[in-house]
Symmetry: C2
Subunit: 109 residues, 2 copies
DNA sequence: CCCACTATTCAGTGTTACTATGTACTGGTA
DNA sequence: TACCAGTACATAGTAACACTGAATAGTGGG
């Protein structure tokens, strides 16, 4: 992954994962695959799992352990009320940033 | 500043400052004021100065010391060729991110 | 029996923005 | 004179985050 992308993902990746979970509950391995599909090809598994543990500790998601047919049990994460609030905040912050940057980009020509 | 914004600025602030410098050369104190004008009210001076030193070490900007009438000499930074390339890369990475997130945001309703 | 795939965890690292403080120069004012 | 506000830059220490690399564990196929 480019170093620029790595830095830009800080703070953003959390929002991305919360947004994915806002659609439906999912487990780590699944989310990693989903990210790859969405174009984030080089996000390491370890990164996603660490993020999930973080948002769990903050109380943004509920967790349920579900047995898998193909491997160890899955930890299925679902967005709760607090998580939904946090996601709303995220979109607010994000749109603020995009507006400022769009303006800067337009000024630059 | 919100913690979310703090994290999201990582990687982005550098691009913002480079974009400002792409318009015209500027010095730290001036850039900090410019950021306040642009809506980034709570960015600490120390943050900007540290960033400027960083991009100087990476060779993205040229520096010239210019005496000031109102205080210590100013360090005026101007974007050089390498900085311009880096800024282009930044916009590329940024637009990739915004596209993915826009899509995610639209899916979320 | 080993390998590929599924699934999670964790210690150590590098980068970044923030906090808090200090330094230095000028001009106005009490 | 002494002090303070404004200008201008620097830096040590901290917290947060994504990445690297590796380990662990379960299942099924060659």
């Amino acid at each position: 992954m480019g170093k620029q992308m790595t830095e830009m993902l800080k703070g953003t990746l959390e929002g991305i994962v919360l947004a994915i979970l806002s659609g439906r509950p999912a487990y780590g391995y699944e989310i990693t695959a989903s990210l790859r599909d969405k174009g984030f090809a080089d996000i390491a598994e370890g990164t996603v799992y660490a993020l999930l543990i973080r948002i769990e500790k903050r109380g943004l998601v509920d967790v349920e352990k579900v047995p898998s047919e193909k491997g160890p049990p899955r930890k299925v994460y679902s967005l709760n009320g607090q998580g939904r609030d946090h996601l709303d905040e995220f979109w607010g912050t994000w749109s603020f940033l995009t507006q400022r940057l769009e303006q800067l980009h337009d000024e630059g020509r």
